[in-house]
């Protein structure tokens, strides 16, 4: 019995079904991924009144655009370096050394991955805004008037992005370091190499492919990110490509051709980097695991182990401290740069829950979009993973390739594509277009998780069920789903959290009435930069933390079940 026949229910009509299935999948992918990008291309090529070349010439030589491109590059490079140094150092400390409390710090290091970087930016505004930031106020008696730190700067934006994207590099590096053959390090140490020398000359070079790949991913993400540059860049006059795309669409009259042209530029840039990353990974192997049995042993840091602990703790403090400051601001009736007991109030929370329509809508819209969207995304990704991994349908590799494309499309670009492409459909002006865009944008994430899950189920299990007389649906229900359920739930929660904090695509697609949580927060910050925004940020963070705790519970239960079996 072929693999394809184990998947498809009626063997007699298999041929017709195969064709129908392929047409359906290709149509789905064309409409959701290729068509929006073609609409952007069309908009930039044919809709500029002065013609494409004249328009492109004037846009690309505009001083603001040139500055924005320069800023984007600077921010992306700096943020990647910050995230890289943090991520690699923390991963090395946790995976390869005897740093105390590594098991406690490991999940804490991942926390920013699940939190909203927009809330992070808001929190850092409270700490390090040039005139009333708590840190600047604190340091004023020592250094005199004038800001010591300025979060409204290129460095400030890169710093916040670096903190929030460090977990991406941390995760990649950690996995690589954990699977490394420790004997190489031991040999170096026995030959008299110092700990740092061993780390730089043996450990990190062995993990270089994983580290560089994650660097590239962070760089690409930062180049297209919208939320943090918008929140911190506006007061400091710092623009990036994504913020000028947003501005082109938000100033009246909206400038579609310019937004489309800049989106195209941004897409080509990120796509080129992704292609580079793929090519780079193709030529490298993760040869950190040798064929012989090994057991990674941690390096002994001696008296430096507490220093390592201090470094890691400092990172955790950099995440939690601003959030604490945000909580303080949320309890003040007016923020004047310092906390006053006389200004203590809970009214900001009441306003978020009962007065601010945008906030209320943000909560309900985001919960609907994220829960329904994550469910649909899981179903779609599972279906595609089955096709790619468990069938021999012709063209399944192309399906996989097209499904991976959105990884190279920045959210704001995809959002613009959806807006231009679907404005004349009933989807426009609903929360469903936002949900649709999220599913497409995170299709690569969902699909890679689902492919890994589907791959993990041996085909013999499925085949023996079918040979014992079980129908296709019975085999799926009784064999596949029970085995895949925990992994599917984890992926569902991961997508739910990602959808809750998404901002880049939504900013192009929301209408007043369909705001998501992050959009509502950005909108409220425009007229309530402190107090109510802080309360809103705190509530959003609590929601995300709840989801993270749930995720931990599910994954822990899954691990313990696996252990028991």
């Amino acid at each position: 019995m072929s693999e394809a026949s184990t998947l498809l229910p009626h063997a007699s009509s298999r041929h017709i079904q195969r064709r129908g299935l392929l047409v359906l999948i290709y149509a789905m992918l064309l409409v959701s991924i290729i068509y929006p990008m073609l609409m952007i291309l069309y908009e930039s090529l044919f809709n500029a009144s002065e013609g494409f070349f004249a328009h492109a010439g004037s846009v690309l030589t505009d001083r603001d655009v040139v500055l924005a491109i320069g800023n984007t590059l600077q921010i992306s490079v700096l943020a990647t370096l910050i995230a890289g140094s943090l991520g690699v150092t923390l991963a090395w400390l946790v995976a390869r050394t005897d740093m105390p409390f590594a098991k406690v710090l490991d999940p804490l290091n991942m926390l920013p991955f699940y939190l909203s970087s927009v809330v992070g930016a808001l929190s850092w505004q409270v700490i390090a805004s040039p005139k009333i930031g708590l840190l600047n106020k604190l340091l004023e008696p020592v250094f005199g008037a004038g800001p010591v730190v300025n979060i409204y700067s290129i460095t400030g934006i890169a710093f916040v992005l670096g903190l929030f994207y460090a977990p991406y590099i941390y995760l990649f590096t950690l996995e690589s370091l954990r699977s490394m053959d420790a004997s190489l390090e031991e040999a170096a140490r026995m030959a008299g190499s110092s700990i740092l020398n061993t780390a730089f000359k043996i450990t990190l070079p062995l993990s270089a492919p994983a580290i560089l790949s994650s660097f590239m991913l962070v760089f690409v993400t930062c180049a297209g990110i919208f939320g943090v540059p918008q929140v911190l860049g506006t007061p400091g006059h710092i623009t990036t490509i994504s913020t000028i795309i947003y501005r082109a669409m938000n100033d009246y009259p909206a400038d579609y051709p310019t937004a489309a042209l800049l989106s195209l530029l941004l897409f080509l840039f990120t796509a080129a980097l992704i292609v580079l990353q793929i090519r780079f990974l193709k030529n490298k192997s993760f040869a950190t695991i040798t064929g012989k049995g090994y057991r990674p042993r941690p390096l002994k840091l001696g008296r430096w182990r507490w220093f390592g602990f201090g470094v890691n703790l400092f990172y955790v403090v950099l995440i939690f401290l601003p959030f604490t400051a945000l909580c303080a601001v949320s309890l003040q009736d007016a923020w004047t740069g310092s906390f006053h007991w006389s200004r203590l109030t809970f009214n900001n929370y009441l306003a978020v829950l009962f007065v601010e329509d945008a906030a209320r809508r943000g909560f309900s819209n985001s919960l609907i979009i994220s829960s329904v969207g994550a469910t649909i995304a899981i179903a779609v990704c599972f279906f595609l993973a089955l096709i790619v991994q468990k069938t021999k349908l012709p063209g399944r590799k192309v399906i996989s390739l097209i499904s991976t494309l959105p990884v190279a499309i920045p959210g704001i670009v995809l959002g613009l594509g959806f807006l231009v492409g679907f404005i004349s459909t009933p989807l426009y002006g609903t929360i469903w277009i936002i949900m649709f865009a999220y599913i497409v944008h995170y299709l690569p994430t969902g699909l890679s998780n689902m492919e890994a899950l589907v791959q993990s189920v041996s085909k013999e299990l499925d085949e023996s069920a079918r040979m014992s007389g079980a129908s296709w649906s019975e085999a799926m229900r009784k064999i596949m789903f029970p085995l895949l359920a925990p992994g599917m739930i984890s992926t569902w929660i991961l997508l739910f959290v990602t959808f809750i904090r998404e901002v880049s695509a939504s900013v192009m697609l929301y209408t007043l009435g369909t705001e998501t949580l992050s959009i509502a927060l950005i909108r409220i910050m425009e007229y309530k930069p402190y107090g109510i925004s802080a309360a809103f940020g705190v509530l959003q963070t609590l929601l995300l933390m709840g989801a993270v705790i749930l995720l931990r519970l599910v994954t822990n239960r899954t691990s313990s079940n696996k252990g028991a079996h």
Binding site: A68, N71, H237, A254, A334, W335, D357, I423, G429, Y530
Partner: protein
């Protein structure tokens, strides 16, 4: 005597219409003396009940103020179950959203309320506004006299943008002898990095305000402002207000009486300036969109906010304006002097076009205001 008799007849008629008003008739019906008008309103109320909801957007009225206005509207018209949504947004993004919806043929706003004369005139010209002759428009005589009404479409209030500053924060920075009289008094090197103003790219009203200063003080004002003071942009005046309050940017060139009043209620010492060159009285106008999904609630709401009771409600909500209806007693004559007592910068609103707005945006860009760093 005749009046009392009429009232008795009205009340009798209302009692007979028992099924319509199971309990008490709403105040608007109780207070209305004219039978024809009462019938008209009753019909609108019945249609409004069927429509069930209403979505309005504005650039000046803040969410907590909108809540108070909505609550009173529902009570006054006996529509307790009406679902009302409000969106507070800058006029630029509002225009973009409305235009997108018109393009998509899917309007979800009923009423938009903004200082956006040129855009509203353009919407009117394109037939995108709902014609409605509210009986209260005629009572908006100040608006009509100032040329800020368009028969069958709108009657305006007015608002201003004026300098506003945090006295205590400036004193902490050693600036104590500060009593500005003119716009030019803000061209002071001591204020470098302390001043904010509205983003002319995101709002018609900020752009029109900047245009009025250009008229009185010349282009030089902005060139010097960019060179000497290097102000930052905010998206909404409420953001500038928070900055003034917190001391982050303790001076704004585009504050107004309402924001001064809000900060003073928070025990923050702020001053509002009435420059000798004058200030701009900008029309602040609610309009009903042609394809409003709830046209009858929109008509009732328009009646409400143009009526004496509605204007009092708007004023008491905190969203105090220079009302186009005469006889509204100001809550604070220092912050809100009578319309006729304000030295207004003359402005021909019909000459305000997208081109003039583009010119002022270009000037600000040339002056380096809000430039990318």
């Amino acid at each position: 005597m005749l009046q009392k008799l009429l009232n008795a007849i009205v009340l009798g008629a209302l009692v007979c219409a028992g099924p319509v008003w199971a309990n008490d008739p709403p105040p608007i019906i109780k207070n209305e003396q004219n039978a024809a008008e009462r019938d008209r309103v009753l019909k609108l109320i019945e249609e409004a009940k069927k429509e069930g909801s209403f979505h309005w957007a504005g650039v000046f009225i803040e969410p907590e103020e909108a809540k108070k206005i909505q609550d009173e509207f529902k009570v006054y018209y006996g529509l307790p179950n009406l679902k009302m949504e409000y969106s507070f947004v800058g006029s630029g993004p509002l225009a973009v959203q409305v235009e997108q919806q018109i393009k998509a043929n899917k309007t979800n706003f009923d009423i938009v309320w903004a200082s956006a004369w040129s855009w509203f005139k353009d919407l009117h010209k394109r037939g995108e506004l709902l014609e409605y002759h509210s009986p209260y428009y005629d009572q908006y005589t100040l608006s009509k006299k100032a040329g800020l009404s368009l028969d069958g479409y709108w009657a305006s209030d007015a608002r201003t943008y004026q300098p506003m500053y945090n006295v205590k924060v400036l004193a902490q920075k050693g600036i104590t002898n500060f009593d500005p009289k003119s716009w030019n008094d803000f061209l002071d090197p001591r204020f470098a990095g302390l001043v904010s103003l509205g983003d002319v790219n995101q709002s018609f009203s900020f752009a029109e305000m900047a245009e009025s200063i250009r008229r009185t003080n010349g282009e030089e004002f902005f060139i010097k402002l960019g060179q000497i003071v290097k102000p930052v942009y905010f998206s909404k005046t409420a953001e500038g207000r928070s900055w003034v309050g917190s001391g982050e940017f303790p001076i704004t060139l585009m504050g107004h009486g309402k924001n001064t009043s809000v900060l003073r209620k928070q025990n923050i010492d702020v001053k509002l300036v009435f420059p000798t060159e004058g200030i701009l009285l900008m029309p602040d106008t609610p309009v009903i969109l042609k394809k409003a999904p709830h046209p009858n609630v929109s008509r009732l709401f328009m009646d409400f906010v143009r009526s004496a009771h509605g204007v009092e409600t708007v004023k008491n909500s905190g969203a105090e304006l220079f009302f186009g209806r005469p006889g509204v007693k100001t809550s604070d004559p220092e912050l809100f002097p009578a319309w006729e007592d304000v030295k207004a910068i003359p402005m021909d609103w019909d000459s305000s076009t997208p081109e003039t707005i583009k010119k002022i945006r270009d000037l600000m860009k040339k002056a380096g205001i809000g430039k990318a760093g």
